[in-house]
Amino acid sequence: MAAGSPTDPTGRLVTLRRKVQLTIDGATLSVSEGSTILDAAKSLGIDTPTLCFAQNLTPANACRVCVVELEGARTLVPSCARRVEPGMVVHTDSARVRDARRTVLELLASSVDMSATPKFAEWCERYGARPTRFGTPTPRPVVDDNALFVRDYAKCMLCYKCVEACGDDAQHTFAIAVAGRGAHATIATELDTPLPDSACVFCGNCVGVCPTGALQFRAEHELREADAWDESRQSQIDTICPYCGVGCSLTLHVQDERIVKVTSPVGSEVTHGHLCVKGRFGFEYLGKR
């Protein structure tokens, strides 16, 4: 190690990042080079709606609900994907931004069942979006072809997160992809092969990143169907996965003394929020003594 290189308290080498100064909604701030406009806005306490963005995935840049106005840019820019540059002047709540976000929300609501999307109703209210203005989504049958999770594609907004989590952002299984084009695009396996016959390893990382509830763990789905899913009655218990030596951080979601869901903290250095089939689903035996 070169002498004088900065280290953190544990002695590991730290990359010093230069600061970039920019202005957001009239406030001037400095953030680390490489940050996105979304990061910078967050540091000012600005709550930006996002759907296709996740901290542990490459920005898909697809939903466009996080767009902001950047002075000098011809069009609005996605705050989740656009990195800060010195001197940027950004507006996150201008009429241009509000109009675009409102219509994006209305378009989503017209084509996708957003009823299980956290905060969606709140955003609609914030931007004055009328969800049925452009029509209502077409119902589709729920796909129930495996023991571990169910897929309700009426709720799929094609955010690409599941594809990324299955692919090179986490699992490297590549069991699913976006197929078809335009309005006919869907999440699919090759030749629409049923998931159990595909390359899927049932890690559940797709379910873990789904923002709209299109993918749901079976226990959660069944409780929700029975109107018995109640997060206020759930406790979250952090633990370490007992299966192998990797030591993945687990969060057990427990309702009425039953584990109803297993997640991993996105900030975990071990998992970045992703798990394997054992950590995610291998707890059923606990209730079967």
Partner: protein
């Protein structure tokens, strides 16, 4: 990669088609996926499970991804399909010339995409780039070898014959209908033998490259910059700046990509250049690669242009044999290989970053910019992406010098430019004129409108309408920008008196709905909502009041323009919006509904 294979085997034909593509390359790399899928399609008419399995195994592509890619392109069938498919153009320029008579006649006998007889079917197609011979079709008969034939000047009878597989006489009106003495970009088209390198050289070929080699790459960069050449693909970006940016990147290797995915409805100029003067395009790419120090170049030719692709491949092979490509270009210290890659039916792949994705063997979905291709383009490396005509213009600039180029046109829009005239105009074709000519004079050059002039679509589906009182518009980047219009890719479609513009804009909306890649919400959902809204306008059945519908359309225009990822979505409502300002699109403004054409448009 540890991939789970598809449990199916290819037929011998499929295997052979795949292996033949792989044999042309040193390594079976991912970017060969589209060529492989095209080869399977060409051989058997669809991509079967077994063929997909073999392609995935050989290229180490996950089957789900390969499926996502195969289903992206409309010239690739993923279900068993008839061997012969007649793709009948149903787009704006062919409709103006009565293509609906053909689709109606065919539909009365055979449903689209349903197997007709003799193992054949027909499909509606977006613009085929054969607008000067509208109405047009493209017949593809899978087999060994595949037969791909562009058919023009069709009527209901000849279209039916084409579907039956009969050889039909194709009227071949010259694509160039103006006096030859003023031609520069088109000077050799129709004069030179497009399959003879000697003839090309006898007509001044390779003088520009020789000059470039003599004077050096930095001289070339300066000359292109001094000529103020603006990109001819549609966006009008200064070519000199792009070339300079690629040349100044530290990263290597660098690539040159010639964007020949000419798909803007009503555009056929690049096809005419490639078919008529293919060696010029090869020389122009060689020149660009010399200027930016690239050793590998690709020409991405749209899938619907079989003759252009064949002529370019022939030209590249001839040039290579004669030392004009390869290890030492013209004996100079320049090394270059050029490859033709063909699209497979996706307008979006004309967008430069979608094109790069497609070239890499992925779905043709645009990338977020920045980073721009000049920094991180093909395979993440600095890449010069230029339209065919832009490269052809650069060749002239280097051959004759920047002053000769800027002597024509206006100070801000230098040189000549190709315009594609189609629709209700006396002599449809490609016209080369100095920038700054008025639209009126250009239409006059093509013999004027055939049946009066109700309006012009300038710049293509992503362009704007111009009314009969605006024909004095000067055709330059600056004048069109000031007028809120665009030159786009040089499209000029003329519409006759009595045109039902509601039907025209509804057709454009259908085009964008069909061609949206689906990646971003504004475009994927917005284009369908615009199309649905226009269907209500035509049916006279508003959702709420017409004022509600006007509000919806305004907001759809806003979100498409402001929040879409790429130019496709951003421009998807521009022609429509310009039409509502000029023509009676809204029912309230219409005294009576426009009658449906009963005489088929014949005057």
């Amino acid at each position: 990669m540890d991939l789970k294979s598809i449990d199916a085997l290819p037929t011998d034909d499929e295997r052979e088609a795949i292996e033949r593509v792989l044999a042309t390359q040193p390594e079976p790399t991912r970017d060969l996926l589209l060529p492989v899928l095209r080869a399977i399609q060409a051989r058997v008419g669809f991509v079967s499970k077994g063929a997909l399995a073999h392609a995935c195994d050989r290229l180490q592509v996950p089957p789900a991804e390969a499926w996502g890619i195969a289903t992206f392109y409309h010239l690739i069938a993923t279900r068993p399909a008839p061997r012969t498919v007649l793709h009948v153009c149903d787009d704006v320029a062919c409709r103006a010339r009565g293509s609906e008579r053909i689709t109606k006649a065919l539909a009365s006998r055979f449903a689209p995409e349903a197997a007709a007889h003799h193992d054949a079917c027909w499909k509606r197609s977006p613009c085929l780039g054969q607008c000067e011979r509208a109405p047009a079709a493209l017949r593809i008969r899978a087999g060994e070898p595949v037969e791909e034939r562009a058919l023009g000047g069709l009527d209901a009878v000849s279209a039916m014959d084409a579907l039956r597989g009969e050889t039909i006489a194709v009227p071949a009106p010259a694509s160039i209908q103006q006096p030859r003495d003023s031609l520069r970009l088109l000077a050799r088209v129709g004069v030179v033998d497009p399959e003879s390198l000697d003839d090309y050289r006898a007509h001044g070929g390779y003088a520009a490259l020789r000059r470039a080699h003599e004077l050096g790459a930095s001289w070339v960069l300066r000359e292109v910059s001094d000529a103020k050449l603006l990109g001819r693909g549609g966006a009008g970006f200064p070519a000199g700046r792009k070339w300079g940016a690629v040349a100044s990147q530290p990263a290597r290797p660098r690539y040159v990509v010639c964007n020949a995915d000419e798909s803007e409805p009503g555009t056929f100029k690049d096809r005419v250049l490639m078919e008529g003067d293919p060696f010029a395009i090869v020389e122009a790419i060689t020149l660009a690669a010399f200027a930016v120090s690239a050793e590998r170049a690709f020409v991405y030719v749209r899938g619907e242009y079989p003759l252009a692709a064949a002529r370019l491949e022939h030209a590249i092979a001839s040039a290579r044999r004669r030392g004009l490509l390869g290890e030492s270009v013209m004996g100079h210290a320049q090394r270059l290989e050029i490859e033709v890659r063909r699209g497979a039916g996706a307008y979006i792949c004309g967008e430069e970053t979608a094109l790069l994705e497609s070239l890499e063997g992925r779905r043709g979905e645009p990338r977020a910019k920045p980073p721009f291709p000049v920094e991180q383009g093909l395979f993440g490396k600095p890449t010069l992406v230029n339209n065919v005509e832009t490269l052809a213009a650069a060749l002239l600039i280097v051959r004759d010098g920047a002053p000769a180029f800027t002597a024509l046109g206006t100070p801000e829009s230098s040189g000549t430019r190709l315009f594609c005239l189609s629709g209700d105009v006396t002599r449809p074709g490609v016209y080369e004129v100095p920038m700054g000519l008025t639209l009126r004079a250009l239409i006059a050059l093509a013999g004027g409108a055939t049946h009066g002039l109700a309006g012009v679509l300038l710049g293509g589906a992503a362009g704007t309408f111009v009314g009969p009182d605006e024909l004095d518009l000067k055709l330059t980047f600056e004048d069109t920008r000031r007028a809120g219009a665009t030159l786009g890719s040089g499209v000029v479609i003329v519409f006759r008196e009595g045109t039902d513009f509601r039907a025209v804009v509804h057709g454009l909306a259908g085009f964008f709905r069909h061609e949206s890649c689906g990646q971003c919400v504004p475009c994927r959902v917005g284009t369908t909502k615009v199309d649905d809204l226009l269907a209500r306008v035509r049916a006279g059945t508003p959702d709420g009041t017409w004022d509600d519908e006007r509000d919806r359309l305004r907001e759809l225009g806003h979100v498409l323009r402001e929040a879409s990822i790429c130019g496709l979505g951003q421009a998807a409502a521009s022609a429509l919006e310009s039409a509502t300002q000029r023509f009676a699109i809204w029912p309230a403004a219409m005294p009576t509904p426009t009658p449906t054409p009963s005489n088929g448009g014949k005057a």
